[in-house]
């Protein structure tokens, strides 16, 4: 039941391949749907076009949130969990049939949600805040999806335990990639339990069995699911960053203990990030807000900043050992830029850090949250996390899945090389546009910011017209970048030329660099310089935001 990969030398359980493929294919279809919905939403928000009528706007917004943030990302992660717990460990897939049951549950769950949303039975947006009520099948769909995902997480644990027992990957700790996925899986259990705690009662409430659910309890628990899911994405994404560094340049952490401890720090944030959503809510106390929103004094943020050094420095160190030692950034000039997996991951690291990271920390501080809560700066922030970070990382990793799992050559490889740049460029504009609009007070989730039909009128500052153009332009470019990627994947997988041997690999598979020589001083001065630039950018942004807050009306 095993076959040996002639390119990587890994032992592959034949039963896991179709599971990986099926989950990956569904995720790509989901991304297509999510992107089309996103474009419709954006073109409605832009008052110049104002495309959709009010009901379809909220429907498409609900669909976009669900399919982009949950269906696309989670299905892709399921494929990643199967890959990381079997192939990487030379291990077998435990109970593959259970994996198919989980797959079926998730597909049925997705179908129910999509049905409810598209037929107008769930105009409640992604967050479905009580007392807004959707059709019971909407909540049931989410529950089925979550149960399916929980089963796959369970299979991941089973695979890893058996692999450890059978010593399939050697004697010692798990490889860093799988270790990171293990942390992601533990986070996923916490996340999915929070989901169960809120969606099961809400389902019963929609059936009329439970009479009331407190709106603030709903928000607290829902975001224990909704935001914690983003911790899962971050852990999975960073695992892939380490993998990408290893595959493309043979990069390994300067210090693997540091990388592993940083992953463990994420566990502290397992459900605390829910607080990010409640900072200007009436109920939790300031002490609760401050402790939770900061993940206990920013330990999870510290973890991300540790990775922000560890991942690029693994690339730099490998490159320097190969002899690319010129100046601070000579190593960066000579990385495999022609490998779309590399450029996707590199752009994701920079984008996630500079856009998602900085805006996220400032938005998530108790007082500065007053200035952004529910403005369109929030979508601006998560374009910088789940889109340029998670989504672009998964796109990049998929370039390796095509030849290694689907055994197909990448069609249109010349276009694939520039695809990550198009997508990242678009998302940067989109994110910047939305963020600036939000800082000017433009609300998110709003059909008509001319307030037609209201008792009063309000016009946002005229400069917002310009930033709408920036956002729409960015959105269209990002949409194009995503569409190119989807076309490349679909054409390659279904119509591509087969990969018969290592000679058909278009992507670099790096050998290990020569071992490090004894030396004194900095091991990765270029990375250190980059992180200092990041720190300066952060401080500037923080100063602007707090300075601006201090000029607002006084409130307590």
């Amino acid at each position: 039941m095993f076959t040996t990969c002639d390119i990587t030398g890994f032992k592959i359980d034949k039963k896991v391949l179709p599971l990986i493929k099926a989950n990956a294919v569904v995720s790509v279809v989901a991304l297509l749907i999510a992107m089309v919905a996103a474009l419709l939403v954006l073109l409605t928000r832009w008052q110049v076009v104002h495309l959709l009528p009010v009901d379809w706007y909220y429907r498409m917004l609900t669909l976009h949130g669900m399919v982009a943030l949950v269906v696309w990302i989670v299905f892709w992660e399921m494929a990643g969990l199967y890959f990381g717990s079997t192939i990487v460990l030379n291990a077998r897939q435990i109970a593959p049939k259970v994996g198919w049951v989980a797959f079926l549950l998730m597909v049925v769950g997705t179908t129910l949600v999509a049905w409810a949303v598209l037929t107008g039975h769930a105009d409640v947006l992604f967050s479905s805040y009580i007392p807004l009520k959707a059709h019971p099948l909407y909540y049931l769909g989410i529950i089925l999806f979550a149960v399916g995902a929980l089963i796959v997480v369970g299979l991941f644990f089973a695979n890893v335990i058996v692999a450890k027992k059978e010593k399939t990957y050697g004697d010692g700790p798990l490889p860093l990639f799988t270790f990171g996925l293990l942390v992601a899986s533990i986070l996923a259990v916490g996340t999915l339990l929070a989901g169960a705690f809120i969606f099961v009662p809400t389902f019963l409430w929609s059936l009329g069995i439970i009479e009331t659910i407190d709106s603030s309890v709903y928000r607290l628990t829902f975001w224990g699911f909704g935001h914690s899911a983003q911790q899962v994405n971050v852990a999975a994404m960073i695992s892939i960053w380490y993998l990408g560094s290893f595959l493309t340049v043979g990069g390994t952490s300067l210090n693997e203990k540091v990388s592993r401890v940083a992953f463990l720090l994420y566990l502290i944030g397992i459900n605390l990030a829910s607080a990010h959503h409640l900072l200007v809510d009436p109920v939790p106390s300031p002490a609760w807000k401050v402790v939770n929103t900061s993940y206990f004094m920013y330990l999870a943020v510290l973890a991300s900043m540790i990775h922000a050094f560890a991942v690029p420095s693994s690339i730099e160190s490998a490159q320097r050992r190969r002899g690319y030692t010129k100046g601070l950034f000579g190593w960066l000039k000579n990385v495999p830029w022609g490998n779309p997996a590399f450029s996707a991951i590199f752009l994701a690291i920079v984008g996630f850090g500079f856009i998602g990271g900085i805006t996220g920390v400032i938005n998530g501080m108790e007082q500065t949250n007053i200035t952004v809560h529910n403005t369109i700066a929030i979508p601006g922030h998560f374009k910088g996390t789940v889109v340029i970070g998670t989504t672009l990382t998964f796109m990049g990793a998929t370039y390796y899945l095509i030849p290694l799992i689907f055994r197909k050559k990448i069609s249109g490889f010349a276009i694939a090389k520039i695809q990550p740049w198009i997508f990242a460029g678009g998302v940067v504009l989109l994110s910047a546009g939305l963020s600036i609009l939000g800082y000017m007070g433009v609300p998110r989730r709003h059909w008509d910011i001319t307030f037609s039909g209201g008792p009063f009128t309000y016009t946002f500052p005229p400069i917002t017209d310009l930033f709408w153009v920036v956002a729409v332009l960015g959105g269209i470019i990002a949409f194009t970048g995503a569409l190119i990627w989807i076309l490349i994947v679909v054409v390659s997988v279904f119509f591509g030329k087969p990969v018969l041997s290592k000679a058909d690999m278009q992507l670099t598979m790096s050998d290990m660099p020569p071992p490090a020589k004894e030396h004194h001083g900095f091991e990765a001065p270029g990375t250190f310089a980059l992180t200092i630039i990041f720190m300066i950018a952060f401080l500037i942004f923080a100063t602007i935001n707090w300075g601006w807050l201090s000029m607002m009306w006084e409130t307590r």
């Binding site: 300031p286 007082q367 529910n374 007070g441 952060f538």
Partner: protein, 176 residues
């Protein structure tokens, strides 16, 4: 080694000087951010309120009607307009899809705004100042405001509350 078991001695390997320096810088930043949030409660003038009472839509509606009777000065486009005395309590009702009443306030004076929802969640979004708070049903959220600028302001709703959400806009006038 992302795909391999870590090399021997990985656990006792010393951390490189640049990595160690960065971790320390990052750690200092984290503690400073934490201290900033705590410290702003002591010295900052903009903090989310934590004065809240449980209520019900019925009770809050009655309290608001009672409150408005004393301070009503007129109507604008069907919305009650009130001019509360500085330092007093003012009741504001959020409902699908309007903010009521419209307020006339004095610059530099404090007002205790009691805000609650009759139905769904609503977002109290003061423009163009751009301060935003979440309004729940069954909770009377008391926000003590001191306007530091004068002119015409709007309160828009920035939490989705149904198809008429976009028409939910209220008014605050601040006199010098």
């Amino acid at each position: 080694m992302a795909l391999l078991v870590p090399e021997k001695g990985w656990y006792s390997k010393k951390i490189a000087s640049d990595e160690k320096a960065w971790i320390m810088i990052a750690g200092v930043l984290c503690l400073s951010l934490f201290a900033l949030m705590v410290g702003w409660h002591l010295v900052g003038k903009q903090n989310p309120s934590f004065e809240v009472y449980t209520t019900s839509p019925d009770e809050f509606y009655k309290l608001a009607q009672h409150n408005w009777k004393k301070i009503k000065v007129g109507e604008e486009n069907g919305i009650t307009v009130v001019k509360p005395p500085p330092g007093s309590d003012v009741f504001v009702i959020a409902s699908a899809w309007k903010w009521e009443p419209a307020l006339i306030l004095k610059k530099g004076k404090e007002y205790r705004l009691h805000i609650s929802s009759m139905d769904f969640l609503h977002g109290f979004s003061l423009q163009p100042v751009n301060m935003n708070f979440k309004i729940h049903p069954n909770y009377d959220y008391v926000l003590t405001f001191k306007p530091t600028s004068s002119g015409d302001f709007r309160v828009i709703c920035n939490e989705y509350c149904g198809y008429g959400h976009h028409a939910m806009i209220g008014k605050i006038t601040v006199e010098d």
